[in-house]
């Protein structure tokens, strides 16, 4: 046979499977693999190792499966937010009543929607309109009406008027 045909080439190439690494190579391969893994781990920064551990932990918990309930998780979050807001605004209610009873500290209606992380009482005090002092209020009332003198709602005298 003068030329190699496809079949012979195939047979020749199959002989390459007899090329084998030194004896014991495959037995030591796993040991070498573990050694390299440890070396790699030592070279890695601490934060990456921590991240890896966290990922492993999350994977074991099967977190992706838990995310199939996003609505429940969102609802829980919203409820928690509302409750915390209510608890935080709770002490404000008696203050409002007191403020309404005292015109000097009444706040405008649009302030009701505003809220801050600061104390609600302080917020009312600083955001309220300028307070009219009680003496100013009395002075204005006096200017509007003529002075009247009533002594204990009792007439000055029950005697009949002099007739001349």
């Amino acid at each position: 046979m003068d030329e190699f045909n496809d079949n012979e080439i195939g047979k020749l190439l199959r002989l390459k499977k007899f090329e084998q690494p030194p004896p014991g190579y495959f037995d030591n391969f796993l040991h070498e693999f573990h050694r390299r893994q440890r070396d790699e781990m030592l070279r890695e920064p601490l934060w990456r190792i921590c991240l890896q551990r966290a990922q492993d932990f999350m994977f074991r918990l099967n977190v992706p499966a838990l995310t199939s309930y996003p609505v429940a998780a969102a609802a829980l979050f919203v409820c928690a937010a509302i409750v915390s807001l209510k608890v935080y605004q709770g002490p404000e209610t008696p203050t409002n009543v007191a403020v309404q009873n005292r015109p000097a500290f009444s706040a405008p209606a649009n302030v009701e929607g505003e809220w801050t992380l600061a104390s609600p009482v302080a917020t009312r005090f600083f955001t309220a309109q300028p307070i009219r002092k009680s003496n100013e209020s009395a002075r204005a009332h006096r200017a509007a009406a003529p002075p009247r003198y009533v002594l204990d709602s009792v007439p000055v005298s029950y005697e009949t008027a002099f007739r001349f």
């Binding site: 046979m1 003068d2 030329e3 190699f4 045909n5 496809d6 012979e8 080439i9 195939g10 047979k11 020749l12 190439l13 199959r14 002989l15 390459k16 499977k17 007899f18 090329e19 084998q20 690494p21 030194p22 190579y25 495959f26 391969f29 796993l30 070498e32 693999f33 390299r36 893994q37 790699e40 990922q55 492993d56 994977f59 074991r60």
Partner: protein, 198 residues
């Protein structure tokens, strides 16, 4: 070549994914000889093969959590090995030297070897080491992609369909590459036949 039982692999993969490193060790032990043959016949260098194989298993271990079982573990690990080897060969370029393993003595009893030495004058005339050297030289003259196909088909005995899955090309492309590679190898080995001592 018989493919390993995939259900056994699936169990080992599942155990590895749940944090059992010993299960991955079993996969390493199981696939090292097979992958060694693949990478070695693509690089023709024992030291490069050893380094690449370590990197292949290291990468597989890091990526195994993302393995969803769409293909078999066998196909998946072979894909990693072939791609990493092709990338390595591109970087290495033509700067290489052959570092060949010894031919196992059992070849003397191999049926195909006996047939070849009985019928083919070039093989009969050449001694084993010379034949090995010629074959590897011929292989190294092929492009990396062609060598990968030849290695998987002729040496590893994989079917065309499996090779196409590993390389992510069509079966037609695999057959075409194989045909072209066979022609090239035939030409190189004919030169050897005409001038065996060159």
């Amino acid at each position: 070549m018989d493919q390993p039982r995939t259900d056994e692999d699936q169990q080992l993969v599942a155990r590895t994914q749940s944090g059992d490193a010993a299960a991955f060790d079993q996969l390493v032990v199981k696939y090292t000889p097979r992958l060694y043959g693949l990478v070695y016949n693509m690089t023709s260098n024992h030291e490069d093969t050893n380094d690449l194989l370590q990197d292949v298993f290291s990468k597989a271990y890091k990526a195994i959590r993302g393995f969803r079982g769409k293909s078999s573990f066998y196909t998946w690990i072979h894909s990693i090995a072939v791609n990493m080897t092709l990338n390595f060969l591109k970087k290495r370029g033509r700067r290489y030297h052959l570092s060949l393993d010894d031919v196992d003595a059992s070849i003397q009893n191999d049926k195909e070897f006996l047939e070849l030495t009985a019928t083919s004058s070039p093989v009969r005339e050449a001694d084993l080491s010379e034949l090995q050297k010629r074959l590897n030289e011929a292989m190294m003259k092929l492009s990396d992609e062609h060598r990968a196909v030849v290695t998987m088909f002729h040496i590893q005995g994989m079917p065309h369909a499996e090779i196409s899955k590993i390389l992510r090309v069509s079966e037609g492309t695999v057959r075409s590459r194989l045909f072209y590679a066979n022609r090239q190898l035939q030409n190189y080995l004919d030169e050897f036949r005409k001038n065996p001592v060159a």
